[in-house]
Subunit: 202 residues, 2 copies
DNA sequence: TCAATTGGCATACGAAGCGTATGTGAGTAG
DNA sequence: CTACTCACATACGCTTCGTATGCCAATTGA
């Protein structure tokens, strides 16, 4: 039998990622003891070092997994929507909603950048921004969005605003009410990208 | 003599903050050994714990200092400018320029949020956002900015976009050229806040 | 001026946590 | 069946952190 072997290895990797994800998402990367969360997966640090090199390597793996999940969720919501612009806006607001989840917020927007540096430089995790960039490019082709902005740049800026939006909602006393206010402001900013019907440039 | 005593204490605090600021700004908060950088100031961890409680407390002090400096610099640039809207835009771009400095980027936008949490909740360091909020409020009063957005929320979102803008420029191969592209996209987003002359809403 | 006291800062100690070097046993190939 | 590979555990030393304790200069009050 060749399979059981490979399957066990894959399972070990998966268990480590799952355990680390739980730890990173709750108590945070810095506070998460490798001894503790590997033990919670029924393993030791030996397995961790073997598969991921070090703690940062494991974080990268966790981030890649989450990024993949986020991309799927964004695309699901994005698929339905009357216009492409609406599609794009939905994508952004979905992004904000996901960033509300403590695990995503902590790992993707807080500890991740602190430990691994600028997310734009992450080799494995940029599916969401890539999707937004594609839509902006298409919208420019359709004449909906002003042609002067660089799509990827705009996507990154929007990404930054989304992160702040999510934090503001999450830390609010009244998330429901705050959400309305924040999303409204966010959409208002997005309108800056739209080509205005009559006049132009200020 | 009552002064020398107080002066020595203040000097000790200042030396600790300066040493920590240097360490945090270069190698980063996590990698900065308290033994090392206190020694570089001719002191020990004893002084650090006495004055700041712990490493995080010292980081807070460093952040408060930097925030104060940033507020001064923003206000300097802000003072001259023909219109209030231009004033506001200049404020934002100055903010981006400051975020380009490695020390500020690392401490204020990377390690700070990772260690202390959402910057919006920092009690001592919010001068810059406060200033932007004030200007947005005034601009709404003048009818320049759409009345529907919450000023502080907008300021926070812009802040997030600024941070991303700075990172994008800083990590670029050609910062000069990238800067133009990024700032252009940033300003475009800001225009979403402007009340349009003729039509409205899309 | 001199004792008592405060408090600023250093030293000493214990507890984790991390990374590496090494060991071991199960699977695999020739 | 033997030798090798490799997934993973164990063991060790180093660094770092937090606290408990000690010391000495500066201040205070008589």
């Amino acid at each position: 039998m060749h399979r059981p072997r490979k399957e066990m290895i894959a399972e070990t990797r998966a268990k480590l990622i799952a355990a680390a994800r739980r730890a990173f998402g709750t108590i945070g990367y810095a506070e998460a003891s490798m001894d503790d969360f590997t033990a919670s997966a029924g393993l030791t640090r030996g397995a961790l070092y073997h598969h991921f090199g070090d703690k940062k390597g494991l974080l990268e793996a966790v981030i890649a997994e989450i990024d993949g999940e986020m991309a799927v969720r964004v695309n699901e919501v994005a698929s339905r929507a009357p216009t492409r612009w609406q599609h794009f806006v939905d994508e952004c607001t979905t992004y904000i909603e996901m960033a509300l989840e403590p695990e995503i917020q902590r790992i993707m927007f807080r500890d991740g950048p602190a430990v691994l540096g600028d997310p734009a430089q992450w080799s494995n995790a940029n599916a969401c921004v890539g999707s937004m960039t594609d839509h902006l490019t298409a919208l420019q082709g359709e004449g909906v969005v002003v042609p002067s902005v660089d799509p990827e740049t705009a996507a990154r800026l929007i990404n930054g605003a989304s992160s702040q939006a999510a934090q503001r909602i999450a830390n609010s006393d009244d998330p429901e009410a705050t959400s309305k206010i924040v999303v409204a402001a966010f959409k208002q900013l997005l309108e800056g990208l739209l080509r205005k019907p009559a006049s132009q440039q200020s």
